[in-house]
């Protein structure tokens, strides 16, 4: 599903009862209001098309055994 403009999408959300929207933005070179809106529309299009991960992220790294020993031995 393609969403044509942020304004259209936003007005649609208002119709669905939107009362507040907030963003976590990564500051840096190239960040603009338009770029943020485009990324939001891309995410919304993926969600609308069902491209959503079935499970939440999980840990992929483990603490080395020798570090676990240090942690387990720590006492105050």
């Amino acid at each position: 599903m393609k969403i044509n403009s942020f304004d259209t999408w936003f007005n649609d959300q208002l119709g669905k009862g939107l009362v507040d929207i907030k963003f976590a933005v990564t500051p840096g070179k190239g960040v603009t209001s338009a770029a943020i809106k485009n990324e939001l529309l891309a995410a919304e299009a993926m969600i609308a098309a069902g491209y959503v991960k079935g499970s939440a992220p999980y840990a992929t790294s483990v603490l080395p055994a020798e570090i676990m020993e240090v942690i387990n031995a720590a006492h105050i």
């Binding site: 009362v19 507040d20 929207i21 907030k22 770029a35």
Partner: protein, 212 residues
């Protein structure tokens, strides 16, 4: 608003979110039988944010609003997460979207930050619900300037998340573990191991443990 009044305003909200985050933290610690002031290293576990099988911040938030976290299969450069709140016929809901969902530690911090928005009570002063307000907020966030009510509440949510994820009572034990790792394994990246232990980004650990 004068500079002095603005400062007082910020300090007031920081104090309120700190109290709210500590209250949330108490519930999560108690429900998961985790210690407020651990004496042994093996008592330290990541505070559940959205993890199944534990009483998480998400689960607690769901007692006050119909909250969900969505993990789209997309990548973003500038927008790692956002939250949209809805209200229909006095039923409230919150849709949290986390696009930066490849890194577990980052996803936990972002989710906690967005969930904090469900616990900030300001009588609607900081809501963003019109197109001009959205444009103003995005411009402020993109430029990293201004502290109007909308951007301020965002900073407050970050603060609340950082307070929530690393309980103050854990700091002495965490410092002890950090020092022990550095002493026994000076060639290891102690900060990385702390991040693996708590499952939060290293920057947050540096901030909370007041590391150089």
């Amino acid at each position: 608003m004068t500079e002095n009044l603005e400062k007082q305003h910020i300090e007031y909200h920081i104090s309120e979110i700190t109290k709210a985050a500590k209250k949330l933290q108490s519930v999560i610690l108690e429900k998961n039988q985790m210690p407020f002031e651990p004496k042994n290293g093996n008592e330290i576990k990541p505070l559940p944010v959205f993890e199944l099988g534990q009483y998480s911040l998400l689960e607690f938030t769901q007692t006050i609003t119909d909250a969900e976290i969505i993990w789209p299969e997309t990548e973003s450069t500038f927008l790692p997460a956002y939250i949209i709140k809805y209200s229909v016929d006095q039923n409230s809901s919150a849709k949290i979207v986390v696009t930066a969902n490849e890194n577990y530690c980052e996803a936990r911090l972002l989710s906690a930050k967005e969930l904090m928005h469900c616990h900030i009570i300001d009588n609607g002063l900081s809501t963003t619900k019109t197109l001009p307000e959205v444009n103003e907020l995005l411009d402020s966030l993109a430029l990293g300037v201004s502290l109007d009510n909308q951007t301020m509440v965002d900073q407050i949510a970050w603060w609340g998340a950082s307070e929530f994820l690393i309980p103050e009572g854990w700091v002495p034990m965490l410092k002890k573990i950090y020092d022990d790792i550095r002493t026994k394994y000076p060639n290891h990246d102690a900060l990385l191991h702390m991040a693996q232990l708590l499952r939060v980004p290293t920057g947050l650990i540096k901030f909370k443990l007041r590391l150089p």
